[in-house]
């Protein structure tokens, strides 16, 4: 791979020509783990720089240092030529003008847009800010950013994408000159992402420097002027974005050429037999009259915008939440009073989309997370045979290639991809007849993603029926046989994955074409 020449800024550089952010020899240790190792690169002023790397590559650590959330162990950072003396959020923002838009937005949900945007810089006296002037100031600011938002609306009433725009506006209100965006599009629909991109273009025109983290190559190549790649805590590549290609960038991230992922459609196995899951006129929260069949050995995708009701529909089938009508037939038998306990008994597996909130037993070990569904078969008189459990969990983890030093370390110490493999592996213990997945690779790096796909292909070939919902359309096109598209709570069409394109699925999902 091409490691590039890194021009060091001359010591005499004036403020005007200095890079917006210059990272010099930055290292950060967590106990014995070196999360960042002697990383140096520049973020040129007024440009958009993309920071790429797999999970665990050190991106988050680097961002935290730049946002002043933690100090480096070694090395330093200059912002517009000025050395950062103290790594804390108020210095980074107040003195250096570096702001971050984190993945978990930190807004006050019950306060208005204006109060959020201007919190800390309220006009008027410090204890009694003027409400009228706050609304005026916010309106002006939103206007300048081309955002059509009511300054008086409570933040809770806005969708996630809009809340994110509010966070950007808040950074601007505080005079940020360097804006860091941490995977800003991970939770957005394409249309919402476009609004964000428009705002980024606006900020760029105003001279704001941006450092942007994303896993999505098309976006990166569209937005970024420069690309910096981290791998295993070191800086491995740096290009102008027109000097490289997505393949080259991905290769730098994973440290090897990644073969094109095999598409499911190219695999020989074909589903057959009576449906393993038959859903008829299923209704519940945010979904109405959904009907479909899923056969053994088939991978059925579910596409739709985040508010299309697809996630609620999955929870209804699994029994995580109550539905209001319709029927489900599971492995040839009606399944009426659905709840997770009964689903486990009837071999219906569910890997939820919110891994941290719904998937991980957060205070437990890797082994306990993998073994969570083995405790019943492996207990006698209510006592778990711990040794057998440990052994079986270790076998399962090995089979799914969960990368972990020991089985007894906390599940939260693993990377997203390995956590996901652990959660998937947990369910294989019940020998599922139907597997439901939501966002199977959200927050999962490229390498682990390929492994999870491979695993799902194998399971389908052994006859497992898989229902997989995702907001990542390329993922559904790669992974599934058919894609059921939902829009506003209804199933509006089903397309063969081999013939579908992102555009054709999106057209259905957004209601751009009438339901088939």
């Amino acid at each position: 791979m091409t490691a590039t020449s890194r021009e060091t800024a001359p010591a005499t550089a004036s403020r005007e020509t200095a890079p917006a952010v210059s990272v010099r020899g930055l290292s950060r240790n967590f106990g014995p783990v070196r999360a960042l190792d002697d990383v140096s690169f520049d973020v040129p002023a007024g440009e958009v720089t993309a920071l790429l790397g797999e999970n665990g590559a050190g991106k988050s650590t680097l961002l935290k240092i730049l946002a002043g959330l933690q100090p480096p162990s070694d090395g330093g950072v200059t912002v517009f030529g000025e050395e950062v003396a103290s790594f804390d959020p108020s210095t980074m923002l107040g003195r250096h003008g570096v702001a971050i838009v984190p993945q978990e937005l930190s807004l006050l949900p019950d306060r208005s847009v204006a109060e959020n945007v201007l919190s800390g810089v309220e006009p008027g006296s410090r204890w009694f800010p003027s409400r009228r002037r706050m609304l005026e100031r916010t309106a002006e600011l939103l206007e300048a950013l081309d955002l059509r938002l009511d300054p008086a609306a409570p933040v809770r009433s806005l969708d996630l994408a809009t809340q994110q725009l509010v966070v950007v506006a808040r950074s601007v209100a505080r005079g940020c000159r360097v804006l860091i965006l941490d995977e800003p599009t991970a939770m957005l629909t394409p249309a919402e992402a476009e609004r964000l991109f428009a705002l980024m273009a606006r900020l760029k025109a105003d001279g704001t420097t941006m450092l942007y983290v994303s896993h999505r190559m098309p976006e990166v190549f569209r937005l970024a002027d420069r690309i910096e790649v981290l791998r295993d805590g070191t800086h491995v590549a740096s290009w102008r974005s027109d000097e490289t290609t997505p393949d080259q960038a991905v290769a730098a991230m994973v440290g090897r050429e990644l073969g094109q992922l095999t598409r499911r459609a190219e695999r020989p196995a074909r589903p057959a037999g009576e449906p393993a899951l038959r859903v008829r006129e299923l209704s519940g929260r945010r979904h109405t009259d959904v009907s479909f069949d899923l056969r053994p050995g088939e991978i059925l995708g579910v596409a739709g915008l985040p508010d299309s009701g697809r996630v609620e529909m999955l929870h209804n089938i699994f029994g995580g939440e109550r539905g209001t009508g319709g029927t489900v037939e599971l492995l040839g038998r009606p399944y009426e009073r659905r709840d997770p306990i009964a689903s486990v008994e009837r071999r219906l597996a569910f890997v939820p989309g919110e891994r941290r909130a719904q998937g991980l037993l957060t205070t437990m070990s890797v082994g306990e997370n993998v073994g969570a569904l083995m405790t019943k078969p492996l207990s006698r008189l209510g006592l778990v045979r711990r040794r057998a459990l440990d052994r079986r969990a270790a076998e399962q983890a090995r089979r799914l290639r969960v990368k972990t030093a020991t089985m007894s370390q906390p599940i939260t110490s693993l990377s997203g991809g390995n956590q996901q493999k652990a959660v998937l592996g947990r369910w294989l213990a019940i020998d599922p007849g139907v597997l439901i997945l939501d966002e199977p690779t959200r927050g999962v790096d490229v390498g682990a993603k390929a492994e999870i796909y491979e695993q799902l292909f194998e399971l389908a070939e052994k006859g497992l029926a898989i229902l997989c919902s995702s907001s990542d359309l390329p993922e559904l096109l790669t992974l599934t046989d058919r894609i059921a598209v939902m829009s506003e709570g209804r199933l509006v069409g089903t397309v063969e994955a081999a013939e579908a394109t992102e555009e054709s699925v999106m057209a259905l999902a957004t209601g751009a074409v009438p339901a088939a």
């Binding site: 999360a35 008994e345 020991t406």
Partner: protein, 333 residues
């Protein structure tokens, strides 16, 4: 996070795990406290004194074992002091009414378990936060104890048949040496250790306390787990109350006020997280021993009981602060 070694090694042995676990800090503090006690007073390390400490911590310890299940679930039981009194009063009144002591004791334990069941039902069925529920029942159970006893103290007269035997539970010594109450504590703690670290219920307790939603979605019966924890807590408080009655032959409606705070303190000093999901039964046992030794040391060195209250309070805050600091260091550098 940069580990690329695929083989998943075997689990470490429970003993090694124990040494690496969070309670290792408290255990070290316990050892230091012991050494301090030995240095300060020659009578401290004598077996008589230590056995009496064992006697003194038994009731708190039994209740703390029950409370550990509740706290690991991410819940709290503030009503244990009142349950203690209610069970003791029930048993005392029945014995006074001429019931045979095993029956009366069984009834007292059942009252404790019922109290826990009521707490648990209010939490899992009505969905009221356990802090509120048990704050309420703290008052309700105390009120009932006062009502049924009409506010009058109950004294068991040793001339009454069976009372002498009943008193042996709290006053007797196994082999003429080890206080029976301590034996009860050891037995309860042993059951607690096995339940928590070996049983499915224990496994599910950690799952629910760490992430209730994730536990529910892997088919853990969250309500059942919580209900069981509250019943165990009520039962343990009842047992402690009965032993207290047996020890003193005396109980009144206001007995055991404020016990809940000592019990919760012991569990927290033992390293359990107040928001649930992490902590161990060994930790609780160490926490109980720590509180017992601390009070004993202050006692035999003639320090006023007012100071004991102050010191115990400071120790709780210090223990949690040390734990927080230790964890932050572990995750940061």
């Amino acid at each position: 996070m940069t580990s690329t070694t695929a083989p998943a090694r075997e689990f470490s042995l429970p003993l090694r795990r124990l040494l690496h676990a969070r309670e290792s800090g408290v255990f070290a503090a316990l050892v230091l406290l012991f050494l301090l006690g030995t240095v300060l007073s020659p009578s401290f390390a004598q077996s008589d004194n230590l056995l009496s400490v064992g006697q003194q911590i038994a009731q708190i310890g039994i209740m703390a074992v029950g409370a550990t299940f509740v706290i690991l679930n991410g819940e709290i039981d503030l009503s244990v002091g009142s349950t203690y009194a209610l069970s003791a009063i029930s048993t005392g009144m029945l014995i006074s009414d001429g019931w045979s002591w095993p029956l009366a004791m069984g009834a007292g334990l059942a009252v404790g378990a019922m109290a826990g069941l009521l707490n648990g039902l209010a939490v899992v069925v009505l969905g009221v936060p356990s802090f509120i529920v048990t704050l309420g029942t703290l008052s309700v159970f105390r009120g009932v104890a006062l009502l049924i006893s009409d506010g009058a103290p109950i004294s068991l007269s040793s001339s009454q048949p069976g009372v002498a035997e009943f008193n042996l539970l709290g006053q007797g010594r196994l082999f003429g040496l080890i206080p029976m109450q301590f034996v009860f504590f050891v037995a309860v703690a042993a059951v607690g250790v096995v339940l928590l670290s070996r049983s499915r219920f224990g496994f599910n307790t950690y799952a629910v306390g760490g992430n209730q939603e994730a536990a529910r979605l892997v088919g853990v019966n969250v309500k059942q787990v919580k209900l069981t924890a509250f019943v165990l807590s009520g039962f343990a408080a009842g047992l402690a109350g009965v032993l207290g009655l047996s020890f003193l032959s005396y109980v009144q409606g206001v007995t055991g006020q404020g016990l809940e705070l000592t019990v919760i303190s012991a569990v927290i000093i033992g390293g359990a997280a107040l928001f649930g999901g992490s902590g161990t039964m060994w930790g609780t046992v160490i926490g109980v021993a720590f509180i017992g030794l601390l009070q004993n040391i202050l006692n035999i060195n003639g320090i006023s009981s007012f100071w004991q209250t102050v010191v115990t309070g400071l120790v709780i805050v210090a223990a949690v602060a040390a734990d927080t600091w230790q964890r932050r260091r572990k995750t940061r550098a």
